[in-house]
Amino acid sequence: MIHYLPTIRSDQNGYDNLADLAKATAKLTVDRLELDFSRVSFFDANMAAPLGAVLAGIADRFNAVEIVNVPQMVERILRKNGFLTQFRYLPLEDSNRTTIPFKRLQRSDEGLFEEYLQRHLKGKGIPRMTDGLGKVFKQKLFEVFQNAVIHSESELGIFVCGQFFPQKQKLDLTIADAGIGIRDNVRRYFKGVKIGSVDAIRWALREGNTTKKGKQPGGLGLKFLHDFAWLNKGRIHIVSRFGFYEFNAGQESFAKLENDFPGTTVTLEVNTADTSAYCLASEASRDGIF
C-alpha cells in the first residue's frame, strides 16, 4: 500500500497524523508499505522517534517499509539525524552539530541510553547548559526511560531522537516506546474500569499514583518531570494512545486524539539558557530525610 504522510510537527496534529498512519496500516501483514513524503512540507526532527516506533510496529508484521519522495529539506534533516539511514538513505554529516540522532534501544539498554545522552547532549553546540541543569535534565530523561522500561511492555524497543535549536536556546528530546500505553496499565490496575486515555494520563501525572504492583512505591517520575519543566520554563508533551497532554508556559492542557497512537511518547523541551540553581527542593537535610 501507499500512504501519504502529511507535515509532521511536534504537536497534537503531528501525533494525530502518526496515529492515522498506524490506523491505516493496522491490517497490513506480510506486505509492503510505501510511505510517501511528497506532502511533507516540514518535519520536526524529534518526531522521528514516534514515527520510528510506528514503523517498527508495521515492520514487525513482516511488512517491507520504504520511504519515498522525501523533499530535499526534510531529507537533509532526517539523514543528518540518522533516521533515513535505516531505510537505505546515505548518512549526512551534521556540520552544525545540532542533531540528537535517532536511536532504537531495547528496554535493557540503560547503559546505552547513558552513552547516548553523554555523547549527544554534551559538546554538540550546547555549551550554555550549566552543569546543574545538564544533570537534572539527564535525570528526568532517565525517569522517562525507566517508565518505559517498567510500564510499556514494548517488545519493539524504545525510540529516541531530539534536536537542538541554538537560536531559540531550546533542546527537544523525545522518547517513544510503542508499548501498551498508560491507559491499559491504569485499566489493569483498576481491574477493568474503562478509563479513557486522557483521564489515564491525568491520573498518572498525580503525585504518588502508580500502576506498579507489589512492594515498591512509585508515581514520582512524571511529577518530577512536570516540576522540572515548570522551573525551567520548558515544555512537555505526553502522548499515549488517544491521549495528548501538554505543559507549556506553566499551563497544562489535555486533548483527545482522533486515532489510537501506539504506545507512549514523551517529549521534554528544555530551555538551555536557564541558569537557575537546580535544587528542586531545599527542605531536605540529611538528618530529616527518614
Binding site: G132, F142, Q146, Y189, K215, Q216, P217, C279, A284
Partner: protein
C-alpha cells in the same frame, strides 16, 4: 548499638548510574538482612552521578512496607549525597510513607472520578 556498616551504592550497582528499579532492588536486598539484624546502615552515594526515583523507590521506598518508620530512622542514614539528590530521596521517602499508610483509599477516590470509555 552495633557498629554501622557502610554500604557503597556504587559498588553494588557496579557504576555511577542509579537509574533502574532492578538495581534499586539489589541494593534493597543487600540492606534488608542488616536491618533485620538491627545493624545500622550508612548508604554512601560516593561516585554516584545519576540517581532517579524508580531506583530509590526500590532501594529505600519499599523499606517502609517492611519496617516501622522509627526503626528506619534509627538504622538508616545517607552520606556523600548532593542536595539535589537528597531532595529527590526526601520526596521518595514521603511518598513511600503515604503509599504504605493508605494505598486503598487513595485508589478508591480515583475510581470514582474516572469512567470515560473509548
Amino acid at each position: 548499638m552495633k557498629t554501622p556498616v557502610i554500604v557503597r551504592i556504587f559498588d553494588i550497582v557496579g557504576g555511577p548510574l542509579c537509574v533502574s528499579a532492578d538495581d534499586g532492588q539489589r541494593v534493597h536486598d543487600k540492606i534488608v538482612p542488616l536491618l533485620r539484624d538491627g545493624t545500622p546502615v550508612v548508604l554512601s552515594f560516593e561516585q554516584v552521578e545519576t540517581l532517579i526515583s524508580a531506583f530509590l523507590n526500590a532501594a529505600i521506598g519499599q523499606l517502609y512496607g517492611e519496617f516501622p518508620e522509627d526503626r528506619i530512622r534509627e538504622l538508616v542514614s545517607v552520606r556523600d549525597m548532593d542536595e539535589e539528590d537528597q531532595a529527590v530521596l526526601k520526596r521518595v521517602v514521603d511518598n513511600a510513607k503515604t503509599y504504605f499508610k493508605a494505598p486503598k483509599e487513595f485508589d478508591q477516590a480515583w475510581k470514582e472520578e474516572v469512567g470515560d470509555e473509548e
